[in-house]
Amino acid sequence: MSMHGPIATHRSASGVPTGRLATWWLLASEIFIFGGLVACFLLFKLGGTPGFEDASLTSVTAGAVNTFVLLTSSLSIVLAHAAIEKGDQKKSFTYIWYTIGAGLVFLGIKTYEYTGKILDGHTITENIFWSFYYTMTGLHALHVIGGMVIMALISFDIRKGYNYQRVELIGIYWHFVDLVWIFLFPILYIANF
């Protein structure tokens, strides 16, 4: 392990490099943000609050395609990490931009879904289901946008030949965004229990 470069790459009092440890701490805090919303969603639903039957109005196809897109983007960002570990800047740069492209496709499909639902009159204030739907998917979409912006910045760094370790860190974040969607998909789209 090299002792050159940013302190985040080599200081590891816990045995985990500081940058990676910080990323995991961030994700631990994100568990409360999304987990809190999912917990309240389930409690209201199990409590028999009216409105949750509207879950049948969401598009399973759109949700499934978006799940496929995010799973594929997770593959491309982990391949970017594997490539940069071998020092292949060009390949890593390309994979990062595939991931950003997948993020754009995800947001495009989400926009299409939002537009259709809003035009049908299903707005955030209609009932508790749509309040949760727009809050959870909207917050998730903000995380997707944030991840895409950071990835773009990192891609230019690695093309210049520095901060390679950040590919792994943004990758861990991006997989978490994928993980959140893995749970949002069944509760908002397919499990109309």
């Binding site: 090299s2 816990s14 985990v16 409690l43 499934a64 749970f183």
Partner: protein, 109 residues
Amino acid sequence: MSEAYGHPNYVKIWFLLVVLLLISVAGPMLEIPVLTLITAFGIAVLKAFLVAANFMHLKFEKRIISFLLILALCLLGVFFFGVAPDIMMTDGDQWIDCIADKSCVEQRL
């Protein structure tokens, strides 16, 4: 660079995730509620495990990270059971159903 991991076969894991996605979408088509719950949430947990272990490299990571995540999930459990009575119990003199009675929301704004 930070220390390198071994890399599993990512394409194989991605393929497995896609197969699980297809099963979770097909589950509700059988219209058996229990099966839908199993295929929806059971498969979500399985997919999450595959992503965390392989793509996030949790299976190669130091144990302290797993402990950190388990601690976060336990605290989330405390939150869940702490909030549950407030959401699910409707007894008590001061309890107002603001979802059924929208005027109570307007009063509080």
